[in-house]
């Protein structure tokens, strides 16, 4: 009897939270008095790509040596994901204060690179953006078309 009751309760709660998620999906309004953390996973299971962009963007990581020369560091050593997954993960959308996270990433990469024989004096993280090309992801990745936005830089102490 208890199991039957629990089962029915589970069904009703599951349906209710799914309906809350559907209401938000359709109206972008939360059901009053239902806390978002209870609904968030239910909403996420029915959320599509929201929008598109006409630019490609990638968080590039560079190390600078004592002579001022910049070397590009392969992100996959530290973030072993495909291009799409890396692009989303590195946005750090889970956190309000992104700057401190990017600075921490730069610090960790600087230490790891130098421990592996590099002699960087700083590591920089910057978003680079360029118009999408119909032929290749990096088709329009040229000096004239790329815009850069430095997110963080960490220097050796």
């Amino acid at each position: 009897m208890l199991i039957r009751l629990l089962r029915q309760a589970f069904i009703l709660v599951y349906i209710f939270l799914t309906i809350c998620a559907l209401v938000y999906t359709l109206s972008k309004k939360q059901v009053p008095h239902v806390k978002w953390p209870f609904v968030t996973h239910f909403y996420a299971m029915m959320a599509p790509f929201q929008n598109y962009t006409t630019d490609n963007a990638e968080m590039m990581i560079y190390g600078q040596d004592a002579s001022g020369h910049w070397t590009k560091i392969d992100y996959q050593t530290y973030f072993p994901f495909g291009r799409g997954e890396y692009a989303i993960r590195i946005r750090m959308t889970s956190f309000g204060d992104k700057k401190s996270k990017y600075t921490e990433i730069a610090r960790r990469i600087l230490e790891a690179e130098n421990a592996n024989g590099a002699q960087f004096t700083s590591v920089r993280m910057q978003w680079e953006k360029w118009p999408k090309s119909q032929y290749d992801f990096y088709g329009n990745y040229t000096a004239e078309q790329v815009t850069k936005n430095v997110m963080a830089e960490y220097f050796t102490q």
Binding site: M45, M46, Y52
Partner: protein, 313 residues
């Protein structure tokens, strides 16, 4: 106004509700779902094995997210662990998924895998915040609530002498949860696209194909340039996603077969054009839209040796 008929109507509704959600039935659908979901998740996690310490331990760059509902005294659970501890947790996770797949200690294994998935989600996967990570977690929860190890499992082999032999009916409840969630996933995704500004034209498809997710096949197609056909394709996607969740439940005139066929084409195309392969598992998961009695009858007619009933065969 005569209100007397309300009581019998309510009773009939309760009986129908109970019959639909929780009746006892054949275990074969959930046995198949267990193998499909377990095997898929085993693959999904096992390919991360070379990067476990990088992704989940102090050896990598890991920023856990503490859920807002988590009491402060439990936040230590999400501390980033040393590499050997991370490997141990990951090893338990993979073992649990293996146990789910082969059907041994199914419920406890699925629950352990669900909890560890939750842990890895807030440790690392929250950055990617995808639908499928959540779907995978809930799938394991549904399996933990089920008797999915009753057939096609090591458990049934040990209990009845054959993995194809079964001995008792199981609740349809977890299967209905799967079906309900899949329906709502398609429904929410489809309806939202009807008015999301980005989804009002073919540009969404075109620019997605030449973005971070684009495959070589996608770039080959886009190399021919823009075409109004992208508008047609986007409208077809929306139409498909809005109609498909209803079609799954309509047995009449083979409408559900049409829906599932469309789903198959849709997911295969997505996998070919975008590096978003994680939803491909939904195709075999469509089996949850068939009643257990139908599936059992089908197996019994075509391959009776795969549906041996304890004490009868």
């Amino acid at each position: 106004m005569n209100i007397r008929p309300i009581a019998p109507r309510l009773k009939a509704f309760a009986v129908a509700w109970n019959n639909w959600w929780t009746r006892e039935s054949y275990p074969h659908v959930m046995g198949i779902v267990r193998i499909v979901a377990g095997g898929w998740l085993l693959f999904y996690w096992a390919i991360r094995l070379p990067n476990v310490t990088n992704m989940y331990s102090t050896a990598g760059i890991v920023f856990p997210k503490i859920p807002t509902f988590m009491p402060e005294q439990f936040t230590w659970i999400l501390n980033v662990q040393e590499p050997h501890i991370a490997l141990l947790i990951f090893g338990i996770h993979v073992l649990a998924l293996f146990a789910v797949t082969v059907g041994i200690f199914t419920r406890s294994s699925a629950l352990i895998a669900c909890l560890i998935s939750w842990y890895f989600y807030y440790l690392s996967h929250h950055h990617f915040h995808t639908s499928y990570d959540r779907l995978y977690m809930f799938s394991l929860l549904f399996l933990a609530l089920s008797n999915a190890g009753e057939v096609y499992s090591l458990q049934s082999w040990a209990k009845y002498g054959s993995p194809f032999r079964w001995g008792k009916m199981v609740s349809i409840f977890p299967q209905r949860l799967f079906g309900f969630q899949l329906t709502m996933t398609y429904l929410g995704v489809g309806f939202q696209k009807l008015w999301l500004p980005g989804w009002q034209g073919g540009e969404m498809l075109y620019y997605s194909m030449i973005g971070v997710w684009g495959t070589p096949i996608a770039f080959k197609i886009t190399s021919y340039g823009w075409s109004p056909l992208y508008h047609v394709a986007v409208n077809m996607i929306k139409m498909f996603e809005v109609l498909i969740p209803f079609s799954f439940w309509i047995k009449k005139d083979k409408i559900r077969w049409f829906g599932m066929g469309s789903g198959l084409i849709f997911h295969v195309l997505v996998d070919m054009l975008l590096y978003i392969w994680w939803f491909a598992v939904l195709i075999p998961a469509y089996i949850v839209f068939f009643d257990p009695e139908e599936v059992y009858g089908f197996i019994k007619r075509h391959k009776p040796e795969l549906a041996l009933e304890q004490g009868k065969n």
